[in-house]
Symmetry: C2
Subunit: 450 residues, 2 copies
């Protein structure tokens, strides 16, 4: 086991080769030693045809777990390949929370059929879970928590647990509830095992524990787990009644998804995107982003077009103008990225955004002046015109200041408008730095050189 | 507590306002209800002067915890403000693992003084931890795990735990070792409490459990925790001797840092960067990245300069050329981002990179042809020249194909060279799409329009 992660890439290669050579015994042998999450990774790293070949060799009893571990888009391609009986078999081993996660991706007929074939209690639980909004605590919640009363002794608790003969995975604490089901605290197993059996639960329980409202967004739940170093936390309804618990391994997935999201959105991609999605749908999705950027590019071209007269006379301007736009774009994207991370971490509020703006303007001024000197000297040496040198220096300073201001202002404004700053921030920013860059450079040239 | 995260931004604003108005009673009142991680966030969201004012009001007994929760750069600014006695007091409450994390950031004299004032055992433990490489399992490891023997009964274990009167935080399992300290398995607390006391540890323990080599990189440890949904895992030396355990809340930090890293590195920033770093050092650091990009920009300008003749005659080319470069840059950055995420998740290996390349070429061809038609029509309408329309279409297709190939090839080559693809990928990619874009467009124009 010690070398399991080291050989991950190696095993990936072996599976790819075996699949290509159709050595299915070899494939099955490698798969036999893998966890569901590892099989999920193998499937994600295969193009459509090979992925389906491998998927059909995955034992049905792990199908459900594997489906939970792949990104949404890959999940759909896998479910599309299954017939209703297979889907039902895969879902059979899952608990309500996991089933609810898969449910939205199932073909409607299969979903309805599955609901009909469930017993009353199962169906009711699933419908209750599905009633919570996606990305709310209620959807992440497991209902397998063990409740005990505050007035019993530890010995009674232990007798009860021994009678049950098992405790659910990742249980680090029992939930203490009153006779009406109201949550009053937790009894960590670590305390239970290290204290005298005659003590009462009430004397030992943690009554000061964090409980989570069922409608709290999962992003906030994740922050809470990180801030308080939690392993599990109770979920309560508006009246404080215990509904269930949220466990750290589900939160780890939320944290990872959220950070993938910022990275992917900045390139106009969805974090659920399949690395091996077929060409046609991928091309379609990316076309949208390219189209939006084309508008930006034409806007910049239109700005340049306003200055045809000066470009017609001084060809050096055409040679140098991308430098002004590019340096502004780079400086702006640094500020933008810092602001996007700051917003994600909760470091930025209305009351400190002015400080931040002043800081970024300061940086832009220093780097603007510094690099504009370098660029000016190089431009003078290249084209032998001091006028061009002065003008590119001035344009560069202007554009980098604009980039600094835009890099802070754009994400703040987008956020207040309810738009994800990671998704649209970079397009808006590039528009600003292109337009300001070309306009400053060619405009100054028109005024002073024509 | 239920509204603790909802009011996070609100409290941030209140602290900012109170600090500005020097209402320190109000500041202290807000701070009193905060966890160390929340105080850390408050400090990170303040500019240098206000940060130090707040830092000096943080009670010394939480200083150590707060230092652990801030990013490295912020940590240095805080430590710089403390005198040796304060640093020693802050470190006093920390365990060896946490102390080791801080140790590298301490002024050398303070560090040496601290080592001298420790007792023998403490010093030895700290030196052992510091001997592990940074970002290895040994550095993350806690040495507070509780070991039991396989041949004793559950009742003996419980008696032992009750005698100890406490079990360390986040203990979900006891470690089972043989008489020589060799790790043989774990005994989950959940099993301990739900089975008859006369059973032997050997009959109940999990002997098939994942153990982690002390030199395993933390990134791999994080993958292991995610793949196997672990809460804690034993760490062993090369001989299989139990050294300690790694706990999920330290792994959550690793996961978050790793994903912040990709986002920040793509903009040439460090994930430890302080949002409110002073202007001068920030400007210096960013200057490096701007300088590298300036070389790229001048390279592109030089390419344009080769085609002065054609630009001098047809000014429309100067107007349209940024469109070709920009569309290539956008298309390329989408492919690059997908590849960088794929590499981070372990989805890409040598054996599937050809598949991936073919897919990206297909997408580039479809979008290249599609958007080049749009651009060609608009260019013809704008400048009334069919020649220019044909040439920009051809250049766009060429550049988007180049972007697709480069978007896959660059990160793979960088990774094989041991360079972080997130850090340098985008500069190299922009160089390719700028150079190819300008060269294709102006080169074709020189051949066919002059």
């Amino acid at each position: 086991m010690k070398d399991s992660t080291k050989t991950l890439e190696h095993r990936l290669s072996r599976i790819h080769t075996a699949l290509r050579k159709e050595q299915f015994d070899e494939v099955d042998e490698i798969m036999a030693g893998l966890e569901a999450a590892e099989i999920a990774l193998m499937l994600e790293s295969l193009p459509p045809v090979e992925r389906i070949t491998l998927w059909e060799r995955v034992p049905v009893e792990v199908d459900g777990e594997v489906l939970l571990h792949v990104h949404d888009e890959v999940r759909s391609t896998l479910i599309d390949d299954m017939d209703p009986a297979e889907i039902k078999a895969a879902a059979a081993g899952l608990d309500t929370t996991d089933l609810a996660e898969l449910f939205d991706d199932l073909p409607q007929l299969v979903a309805e059929d599955m609901l009909r074939s469930m017993d009353e209690l199962q169906r009711q639980r699933l419908e209750e879970t599905l009633a919570f909004e996606e990305d709310s605590a209620g959807r992440l919640m497991r209902t397998d928590s063990i409740g005990v009363r505050a007035d019993v002794s530890l010995e009674t608790v232990q007798r009860f647990l021994r009678w049950k003969e098992s405790v659910p995975d990742n249980t680090d604490a029992l939930m203490v509830v009153d006779r009406n089901g109201l949550f009053v605290g937790t009894l960590p197993l670590a305390r239970l095992v290290s204290h005298p059996p005659e003590m009462a639960v009430a004397d030992l329980m943690d009554g000061d524990v964090k409980s989570i409202a069922m409608d709290m967004p999962t992003r906030e739940v994740a922050t809470l787990f990180q801030t308080h170093d939690l392993v599990s936390a109770p979920v309560v309804d508006v009246n404080g009644m215990l509904l269930g618990r949220i466990v750290i391994d589900d939160i780890v997935d939320v944290i990872r998804d959220n950070s993938e999201q910022a990275l992917m959105n900045m390139a106009g991609l969805d974090e659920e995107e399949d690395l091996f999605a077929p060409v046609l749908p991928s091309a379609k999705r990316r076309a949208v982003w390219l189209g939006i950027n084309l508008i930006t590019a034409f806007l910049a071209a239109w700005v340049i077009g306003r200055f045809e007269a000066v470009l017609d006379q001084i060809v050096a301007l055409a040679v140098l103008m991308p430098i002004v736009a590019s340096m502004g774009g780079i400086a702006g994207s640094q500020t933008l990225t810092l602001a996007i991370r700051g917003l994600a971490l909760g470091q930025i509020s209305q009351t400190n955004s002015n400080w931040l703006m002043r800081k970024e303007i300061g940086i832009a001024a220093l780097n603007g002046v510094g690099w504009s000197l370098v660029v000016a000297v190089l431009a003078v040496l290249w084209f032998g015109s001091i006028g061009i040198g002065l003008i590119i220096a001035a344009a560069l300073v202007i554009n980098m200041l604009a980039a600094g201001v835009a890099g802070i202002a754009i994400p703040l404004v987008l956020k207040r408008m309810g738009i994800d700053p990671a998704l649209s921030g970079s397009v808006v920013l590039t528009t600003v730095t292109d337009v300001v860059g070309f306009m400053a450079f060619l405009g100054l040239a028109t005024i002073f050189l024509l």
